[in-house]
Every structure is written in C-alpha cells, then in structure tokens.
Symmetry: C2
Subunit: 552 residues, 2 copies
Amino acid sequence: MTTGAQALLKTLADAGIEVCFSNPGTSEMHFVAALDHEPRLRAVLTLFEGVASGAADGYARMSGKPAATLLHLGCGLGNALANLHNARRARVPLINIVGDHATTHVRFDAQLQSDIETVARNVSPGFVRTSRSSAELCHDAADAIAAARGLPHQVATLILPADVSWSEGASACSVSAVPAAARAAAGTIESIAAAIRSGAPGALLLGGSVLREEGLTAAARIAQRHGLRLLAETFPTRLERGAGLPAIERLAYLAELVQVQLAGIEHLILVDAKSPVSFFAYPGRPSELVPAGCHVHRLVEADEDAPASLIALADALGATHTAPPLQAVQRPSCPRGRLNAAKVCKAVGHLLPEHAILIDEAITSGLMLGAMTAGAPRHDLLTLTGGAIGQALPNAIGAAIACPDRPVLALVGDGAAMYTIQSLWTMARERLDVTAIVFNNAAYSVLNVELDRVGAQPAGQAARAQLDLGEPRLDFARLAQGMGVHGVRADTAEAFVKALRYALDMPGPHLIEAMIPESLGGAKRKVLPWLLRSLPRLPRSLQRTLKARIAP
Amino acid sequence: MTTGAQALLKTLADAGIEVCFSNPGTSEMHFVAALDHEPRLRAVLTLFEGVASGAADGYARMSGKPAATLLHLGCGLGNALANLHNARRARVPLINIVGDHATTHVRFDAQLQSDIETVARNVSPGFVRTSRSSAELCHDAADAIAAARGLPHQVATLILPADVSWSEGASACSVSAVPAAARAAAGTIESIAAAIRSGAPGALLLGGSVLREEGLTAAARIAQRHGLRLLAETFPTRLERGAGLPAIERLAYLAELVQVQLAGIEHLILVDAKSPVSFFAYPGRPSELVPAGCHVHRLVEADEDAPASLIALADALGATHTAPPLQAVQRPSCPRGRLNAAKVCKAVGHLLPEHAILIDEAITSGLMLGAMTAGAPRHDLLTLTGGAIGQALPNAIGAAIACPDRPVLALVGDGAAMYTIQSLWTMARERLDVTAIVFNNAAYSVLNVELDRVGAQPAGQAARAQLDLGEPRLDFARLAQGMGVHGVRADTAEAFVKALRYALDMPGPHLIEAMIPESLGGAKRKVLPWLLRSLPRLPRSLQRTLKARIAP
C-alpha cells in the first residue's frame, strides 16, 4: 500500500519537480521516510527554514521550475516567510509544503498547534489548501503545482497533516500541462505602437520575464528604432546582462533618483513591470514616481506572455530587423590599496567569469556593482525582489543547485548576511560552487541613509546605536569556518583580489569578508554628495538637477 | 510638537515598560529616533527578529512584565513568529510593535507590502490592531498594554504605520491598572476538595503561574496532607526548583511515558495547566493521555488567580499548616572521562550556582538535566513552552536583562541552537552573564527517535541524511568567536568542568561546546531501553509495565 507521503513524492517527481529544500520535524517524518522510495527528488537539508525558502526562490529564478520546500507547522512557515515574500515578489513558481498535526490531533491544541493558513495567506494569497485525506492529497498537490506554474507564477502552499501523510490508500496524480499564455491583445499592441510612433519622449520599463535576452533584444530594437529609453525595474528577479547583450538602465532604489531618471518622459510603457513607486514613503514626498502628465501604458496583463508580446510590438513598429546596440566588452582595472566597497565591486568586475550568477544583496556597498560589471562577460543578476533581507545566501544555494556548472557569487552586506547565515552550512554540505562576499562595514548602512531621509534627524546616541554593528565586530571568516566553509578576511584590495582569484579557481564554497569603512559613517555624513560621486552614470546636468532638488 | 513615536515611547515608559528588543528598518526610523527622547526605555538591538521575540519572552518569564519588540513589517514579524508562538504558549505578556508602510503608501503595493494582520493573528489571536492616526496611537498602545497584562497574559500586536509614527499632534496616554483577578468560585473549590477528600487516587497537575514557590508550597501541602501525587506540566514557563523547595515531577515529553505517569489516577486536578495530550499524534495511538475513567477537574479559569485559588483550596482541605516535603540538598559528583550528554548534565548539577536561571532546550541531550539538578541550590528552569525550536539562546538574553545579578545557563542542542544563533552577538554587545552550553552530537537526535515512533521505519539513507548534522560538523566555539563571544570546545568531562567553572567565575557571555556521541545513533538503535536507563526515577515495576506495553 502507498502512503500519502509516498504518493505525494511520486506526484511531485512525475511533474518534474526535482528538488525539495527542507527543514523537517516530527509531523514530516513520513515525507522524510518516503524520500528513500523516490530517488528522483533530491532533498536538500537546511538548518533554518528561511534558508529553505530562499533556496527554492533562487532555484526557481535560475531553472524556471518550482522546487518544493518542506516546513514544520506554523512556526516553520513563519521562519520561511521573509524569503517566501521575496519569492512572491519575484513571481517565481514554488511549492510550499507545510506539515501539520494529524487532523485528529488538532482539537487538542497541543503545544505546536497554531493557525497555519492565516500565516500562509501572507505569501500565498492565490493558493493555500489543507489536504483533508490521503485520497485527496495528490489532487491537492496537483492543483498546487498547477497554480504555482501558471501565469503569473506564485508560491502555492499545501498544508499536509501528519495522518494524511502516513495513511495508506493514496495514489499519485498527473499534473495538467500549463496552458500556453496568450499574447497581448492586438488593440493594446496597436495603441502602444501609436503612442510610440507619436515621437513624444518615451521609455520602456521592463520587468519580470522580459529581462532575459529575448525580451531585452526585442525592447532594445524598439528603443533604437524609435528613440525610446530603456529602463529596468529596480529589483529584477533575473537580469541577463554583460558584454554582447543589450544594456539596460535600472531604476534606482532612492525615489529622488527615480524621479530624475523618469523626468521628461511622456509615455511610459510597462512590460511585465509595475508603475514605479517609492520603496518606502517619506514625509512630504510622493509615493508615485511617474512624472505628472506622463501616460502609463501596460503591454501585458499578469497572465499573458510578455516576451512574445514584446516581439509582437517590435514587429508592429517595424523594428524586428533593427540592430540593437549591444554592450561592449569592458572590464575595470584591478583595484589596489586600502579596501572599500567600490574596490570590491571593481574587483568583481575585473574577474567575473563568463556565465556567472551574480546575486546582489549589498544594499549600500553594492552601489557600484552595476557599473563595474556592465561590460563583464555575460552573466545573470538576481536581486532583492521583495525587500526582505536575508535573500542572497539562500538564493545562492538554489541557483547553484539549478546550475551546477555555473559559478555563483553572492554579494551581501554584513547586516543582511546575518539573517540567514545558516546558509553557509548547506553550501558546505552540498559542496556548492558559491563564493559569498560579505561587506563588513559594521553597520546597517542603509538605515543611516534612511534615518536622514525620513527626516528623523538629529539622531542622538541611542538612535545611532540601533544602526551600529561595530561592538563587537562580526568575524564572518570565523563564522564560515564554523560552518565548514573556507573563509578569509581581506583588508586590502590586493588581498581581496587574491582571495577572489583563488575562490574562482577552486571548487567552492568560499566566503570572503571584505573589511571596509562605513562609507556613510560619521556624524555629519552627506548622503547626497556621496551618492552623486557614486553614480558616475548620471549626466552632469542631472547631477546638478538632483543636487538642487533634494540637497539645498 | 510631539510625534506619534515620541508619544508612544512615553506611553510605554509611563506604563513601566523598560526594554524594547529591536530589529528596525526604514519604517521604524522615527521610533528609533525617539529613543533619544525617552531614556527610560532601553533598546536592545538584535540581528534577527526571532532573537528579539525570544528575548522578550525570556524577559517576561523572569520579570513578570512585558517587554516591547520592534519589528519591520510582515517579513520581520514572520521572522519573529516562532518565538512569539513560544511566548503565546508560555502565556507571558508581550507588546509586539510591527512597523508598517505609511497609510498613504499601502495602496501602491510597494515591494515590502504584505498583509501583516493575517500573520499577527497566528500569535496574537486576542489583540491585533493597526493604528490609524497619531491621535489614536497612544490609546491603541494603552489597549495593547492592558490586553497583554490582563489574565491570561498574551502577545498583543500593535501595527504602527510609518506616518502614524512620524506625524505630530500625538500625546501619551496612561494605562489603566490591571484589575485584580478573582479566585476560583467557592463551589469549584468545594467540589474539588470533596473529590480529594474521597480518598481515591489523585494528582494535582500544576502549570503556568503555580510553579513558583507560593503555588508549589500550597500544592505540596495538599498533596502531603491528602496523599496526592504532584505533577507539573511538561514544558513550564518558569519552574522554581532546587534544594529547600517542594519537588515536583514533570510530565514526560513522550506520550507513552505520560501514560505510565498517569496510570491509576482517578482524579486529576488541573491548576493553571491543560489536560495532558500527546505532543504529536502517532498512528494508532491516542492523543489524550488521561486514563479512562479518570475525572478531570479544573480549579481555575484562564482569567482567575491560580496561586490564590490553590491557597484557598489548601485552606478548604485543612492543609494550610501541613509541612510540605522539601527537596534535600544533593549534588551529583564531578563527572570524569569521555564526555557524553549525561555527564554534561551531571557537571551542571555539580556546579550550578544559587539563583541561577537554567534554560533547557536540549531536547534529547538534556534528558538527565532534571534529575542531576534536582537537589542543586534553588534556581529557575525555563523550557520550550511552544515547541518552536530556537528559544533557549534568545530567552537567555531576556532573562539576563531582567535579572542582571543572576547567572544564566542556556542548554541547547546543536540543531536548536542554529535557528537563532545570532543571539550570541547580542549577548556580547550587552555583556550579558550568560553561559550557553551547546550539545554537539551532530544530529537532530529527537527526530531519530520520532522517525521510529511514527512508524516510518525502515528508514534508508535519504531519510537518515535529513536528520544528520555531521557533514560538515558545526564548530560552535568558532561561531561564538565570530560573534564576539568567548567560546571553547570540550571533549572530556574534565575539560567541560574546567570550562564551566571558568564561565561561572568570569563575567559572560561564554559558550561551551560539548562534543558528545549521538546517544541514539546507529542503525539498530533501541530507543526504549535507552529511555529506561535514562529515567532512573521510574520504579522498576513501572519500567517493566512500560517495556511490556510499548516495546514488545
């Protein structure tokens, strides 16, 4: 006889799901036991559920396929929630499997009993289901898989009571194929084409699925042919970039900069992207960042095929044969001397291998990363889609498992790294080719910026202490060693480059801790001049505008 | 003018709330800035929200007062959820403050936007409120404080939009005093007294607030006078114990053992405790553990004064002047030779200082802790009330802040320690007198037991690998050092004793990593004989019963 768990694993494997990122407890023991009967499903153990969910997100971004998670009741789901939020915002497919008490046990309100569905709704608004019997389990699982895979992709949560898992009489189900997504309606394409043909200043804002070569190329053809600007959302799920691909300007994190980027645009065409809004609200400043009078057009709905629609738009605009401008090969020189955040980014740009997967959660320290790697060999960039800190290290696990032949570099701030530092152990256990680069500036730097921006000045000692990670200073090389990962500290550019060369040459995982000054530190910090110096891409005239507008 | 945040902090401080365990983000920057205006509120920074919530739990257990947390949106709340669950089950007062986007910003669905209330309901079923304006904020806060403090205590969640925090025109509110709780109804006391007087075999099962000296003494008088057994719930919030206090037998974690403990009881009197149920359900085994035909009596409702009611019951039973049996002074000898889990517990019993706070999250390795410390000098024991792993290290932070003059010892398994390992940094930063003892047996030991118990045998390699933490083996001494905590490894009993003596003599924090074999390891493990050997407290006749019943 087949248990619910055995049939569930067969259903998952039959549907092509190959990996389960897990942190099981007692209620998941039958699922765990069933792993021995289903060798097609690789179970990757994590020490903390946020690692499992972030790994499933990274896996989906790089493979295009859902992984499963295996979590232990409401508390395990809570621990996984932040990275499930990032996955939701990344719009990746993910099957979240949460074990629960046996259906007969719920009414006793035992210690671990809690309302799992209420928590799950936060990240799985479209699909939360508690399976009620072994007979129904695989149908429920098939529905969850179909929900996750359909457009828009989503995090589907299946709650699995222990007795549904252990009872016999279950049988696996097949999952219906994902229906082909439709293109944008002809009328929509035509009206957007007309707006573009009008010749008014316009931009294409790309997001989601059109930030890969196919979409980027179609967009770049249109932009080239019709003089549009080409913009990408601030935090892409996966951006293909580097030499030989069309270059694209990402919208900035800071709302003030986005307003500068969008100034003068009369038509903004959204392609699988949202209309730009401020990441946070600030007193007296607008949340909407689109200039007054600008027309916002949306090429596709969430369930439509964005790349195909963009190609159709290029066709409608006669741009199919336009040669798109492509990024030239260009690497920065090798940095020297005392280490700082920009030199770390420069070294990464200097050495980045072809087909690398670059994960950026270095919120302030990574500011120069885009510029420094723009002309590096072709690579993928994954970013903090949902703003929930602790994404880069888990994402790196999933990306490395999805793409075992590609080097993965995860750049992460010290504050961010600590949320899911347990990731390092899974990297070591699975022998993943990941190089984690931790910027140790002993501060929540971005909050020093934000404390000023929200107008909460002047901040005294008690407030500043909340942003300070300097006492004691974390030692990430030791933390890595404590989890079986080769870890080194670098204080100079030379030492960092040497460590990075070694890490890229030798099988991973590795961790390099870059000891850098807090660029934004000091009581009289001037955020704006620093930003302006750090964004050489902005034309001088825009720098002047920006300076006049927000730093009088 | 006073901002919402400033008035909120004044309201908290006026109400006697002295500590806020925090992990803030941008939306909490005005709260952070307001800290400089309210020196009565001590903000304790954590690197992960689960540390903040677990610390607030530990603080409340030892001080009897609520602390505040400060969390960043739905994702921060998610990270805090597991330890908030433990706090909910511990029935401690706690004010959970969750920053949110500005009310005007919510409709833009920016990256970090999510449904916070749905998550909060999981741990705050009794009080979740989103404050709508600065004018209302302090009334909302006062309601939250009153809700948390009232009986039964609870985790009250106040959601604080950024603009409610930053807007001016707020003023602090005073919080109404907690109304005195009533005693149990006279009729209830009389009917329970009659049951006890009947002379039928009975037991008092104590929980919650009656596991401290006052309640224990009253219960022990009754038990002594009327020949009742005295039992404590499995996972007490705070148990006062040691030489000179009435001893009490805790219900076991394993349902099979609880059935043995309760066998033959005809009257079970619950005093601030729940009727015993199995922690998890197991195929073919009952969830309810009370013997058939046993009458279950409940002395108090959740909003009644349990210690006073127990004293009234003692009075009704003529036991007020009965001398309760008290635990004799008795320490185990100093262990020697190769280290194992029992020897670690023995060393703790050998050296435990008076008034220590002992926190036990060593699920399998701590099995001997109760027996080994029973006759140690008077101390408090805090346990895993909600079963959500990752409680001990954060609890230790809160306990040490609540009781700066008392040594805190946190015993924790390797698997459990990793969920909230970031706690060590806050211990170092706040220079807390905590000694963390990590049992490194390179396994999720309890799951090895559970895998057998749920009947999921025979387990193959894939399943066993999910419970194995041996490859690579974690190095907790290094992890401690990486977070600024003095950390050492001990392989022998002599080395462990030396390290523990040093840790107890010198200001903390310290971490001692006890390298022990996996007691339950091996393909042919026999759980039951090991349990029987480990529980010398059980009479031989009961051991035989147990063996016959569950290990045929």
